[in-house]
């Protein structure tokens, strides 16, 4: 136990940049996360409880934001978990008093069964499956470019101004098929051409290179569902 505690800071540092190490650390400290959740709920959480998911998410956030200046990691994580659970509780409080669709009705059947189904569940299921396949293909292709989805989430532009610059570059690339072919062939983002063509700063594009890889791949053939998801943005960029 002592050795695990001694190695914890090193593991946390490693988990900051490695998603697999972060997953492993979370799995190893699930008992701790469950205990913190139980302290808040005053009962043992189930695997299906959203609070447990929130606690795990808070634990991951603690890994990302921890530094030795903050003291003990577990104490820091405990505070983070508690804060997140309180925020979630307050947010969910607004929906209190509402009846769950899965609650049993008069005839002991879920209320949901009594409601008309406006959506086609099977269609939704197929759509979701197709989307999943596209996403898996996209992830595999991004690995050829040396990027992963967690990396892209880190590299994604946060500010609206920066996002707008990247979107203009992507829209310019869509208007230049030769540029997209060069991108797929060289496995490199043609930053200079994009900057000149879109009239944006190259430095901004360089800072968000991994993000541009993902979005440019979506713009190529084979990712219609994903492209449809962000079509509003793409159409907006195409507008003069």
């Amino acid at each position: 136990m002592d050795s695990a505690a001694e190695r914890l800071p090193a593991r946390v540092s490693e988990a900051k940049t490695d998603s697999k190490a972060a997953d492993a650390l979370i799995a190893d400290y699930m008992p701790f996360i469950r205990a913190e959740t139980a302290r808040f709920l005053k009962r043992q959480p189930d695997d299906s409880d959203d609070e447990l998911s929130i606690a795990m998410f808070a634990f991951y956030e603690s890994i990302r934001s921890y530094s030795r200046l903050r003291g003990s990691f577990l104490k820091f994580a405990s505070v983070q978990i508690k804060s997140r659970l309180i925020d979630f509780y307050r947010k969910e409080k607004r929906s209190r008093g509402q009846i769950s669709l899965y609650a049993a009705g008069e005839d002991e059947q879920p209320l949901m069964d009594t409601l008309p189904d406006k959506e086609d569940a099977y269609a939704n299921l197929e759509m979701r499956e197709a989307t999943r396949q596209e996403i898996e293909e996209l992830s595999a292709q991004m690995q050829q470019f040396g990027v992963s989805l967690p990396d892209i989430s880190e590299n994604s532009p946060k500010q609206h101004r920066t996002l707008d610059i990247c979107q203009r570059a992507v829209c310019y690339a869509r208007s230049q098929p030769a540029l997209l072919e060069e991108f797929l062939r060289t496995k490199k983002v043609p930053l200079q051409k994009l900057a000149e063509g879109a009239g944006v700063e190259r430095k901004t594009l360089e800072r968000h290179r991994q993000y541009l890889v993902a979005v440019l791949l979506i713009c190529t053939n084979g990712y219609e569902i994903l492209r449809g998801h962000i079509m509003q943005v793409l159409r907006k960029g195409e507008q003069p």
């Binding site: 998911s53 991951y60 921890y66 996403i135 989805l149």
Partner: protein, 399 residues
């Protein structure tokens, strides 16, 4: 805003919104490809640098304060007078040097001397060089004749520095065909002048620009040897040269400086007690404030029984200042007006102590001169040689 679940992990999920942003959120049992609308998004992690930044700023501020303090201390040390050199000629000059031998103050007790100083720049100049310039100017203006002997008193805590200054001064004098008599400052004798210095000896502040007029010409003009105890000009407070007194000669306190050089060698820089690092100590010069009438003979030693300025070591008892010379020691405050000059406590040792209490003031002009030698017979005019022991006096060349 709709979010498309792109990837699921144990503690989080990667979502893509309709603006093509990729974000991390809590994995509330999501599935890849699922579309969600109200995810729990990850907050922007603020880097934990605040504390370290504060620590760095505090450390930088502390270093700055420390360096400033050190710099200030160094500056103050450089401005502190460690040695003084008095050029006793018709125009008396006094220079104060710091530990590095740089001139930090220079003044003259005469108006002509002051005027001469105005025409000389001492900035970034060696002490010997400045002495040479002053001697040159004096010679050109007729204050010194070629071949004359000029008395120079060097008061330094460090014997090595004393020798260094001495050799520098002698070298400069050689170039001008002048003779110099370099000695450590000596306790003021009653100076031969006879006329009681008008102003009380005071603390022997060296040459205060206050413009003490030069002591009686004849006394000062001595230029050669034994600086007569300068008659304190009436009303002016300045200390002129130091009359060498015998070892242990007491300086009248009132004269301002209780020079207590028991022996010449001792004085060299070691006679600190007698004089403060500044030459002050011994010179008697009347330090009395101008307005204060100088009691003729009666030293107003605060109870000092005797006024024997130079009292030798063996002469433990404070010599009675017959001419009212107070005990040697020049009360600190009187001794010098220059900062940093501790007034000389009494002469060598013995009585000085008590003499010190009583104030130097030699309110009597007499005392200024008398201060030096305990016994009245110390010729005030000549510079006190009352006590045999003072070798310097003896060797003082008479031209």
């Amino acid at each position: 805003m709709k979010y498309l679940v792109m990837e699921c992990h144990a503690g989080y999920a990667v979502l893509m919104d309709e603006a093509s942003r990729f974000v991390k959120a809590a994995n509330l049992h999501y599935e890849v490809g699922q579309t969600v609308t109200a995810p729990v998004l990850m907050e922007e992690t603020k880097p934990a640098i605040r504390r370290s930044t504060v620590v760095r700023i505090a450390a930088a501020a502390a270093c700055l304060v420390l360096l400033s303090g050190i710099g200030l201390k160094v500056y103050q040390n450089r401005r502190k007078a460690r040695s003084s050199i008095r050029l006793c000629s018709e125009l008396e000059f006094e220079m104060q040097l710091n530990s590095a031998g740089e001139i930090i103050r220079i003044s003259s007790s005469t108006e002509s001397g002051q005027a001469m100083l105005d025409s000389v720049s001492v900035r970034k100049k060696d002490m010997a060089e400045v002495v040479g310039e002053l001697l040159t100017l004096q010679r050109e203006q007729g204050y010194i004749a070629e071949g004359e002997t000029v008395s120079i008193y060097i008061d330094s805590e460090d014997e090595q520095k004393y020798e260094e200054y001495k050799s520098g001064v002698e070298t400069e004098a050689e170039k001008l065909n002048l003779l110099v008599s370099v000695q450590p400052p000596q306790p003021p004798h009653e100076h031969e002048k006879g006329d009681p210095p008008a102003e009380p000896p005071g603390i022997g502040s060296g040459l205060t620009p206050g413009g003490a007029e030069e002591p009686p010409q004849e006394a000062l003009h001595t230029v050669h040897d034994a600086p007569e105890p300068p008659q304190p000009p009436e009303g002016t407070k300045h200390e002129k040269h130091i009359t060498p007194a015998g070892p242990g000669s007491t300086v009248k306190p009132e004269t301002g400086t209780a020079v207590r050089h028991p022996d010449p060698p001792a004085e060299h820089g070691t006679a600190p007690s007698a004089q403060s690092e500044h030459t002050e100590p011994q010179v008697t010069t009347e330090t009395q404030p101008a307005d204060t009438p100088v009691p003729p003979e009666t030293p107003d030693l605060r109870g000092l029984p005797h006024t024997d300025p130079p009292h030798r070591a063996e002469d433990d008892t404070p010599a009675e200042p017959e001419a009212g010379e107070p005990e040697t020691v020049m009360p600190p405050h009187e001794q010098h007006d220059t900062p940093g000059q501790p007034e000389q406590p009494a002469l060598a040792g013995d009585t000085e102590s008590d003499t010190q209490d009583e104030l130097p003031v030699s309110d009597t002009t007499d005392e200024t001169e008398t201060v030096i030698s305990p016994e009245p017979q110390d010729t005030p005019a000549e510079h006190p040689e009352p006590h045999p022991p003072i070798p310097q006096a003896a060797e003082r060349p008479h031209i």
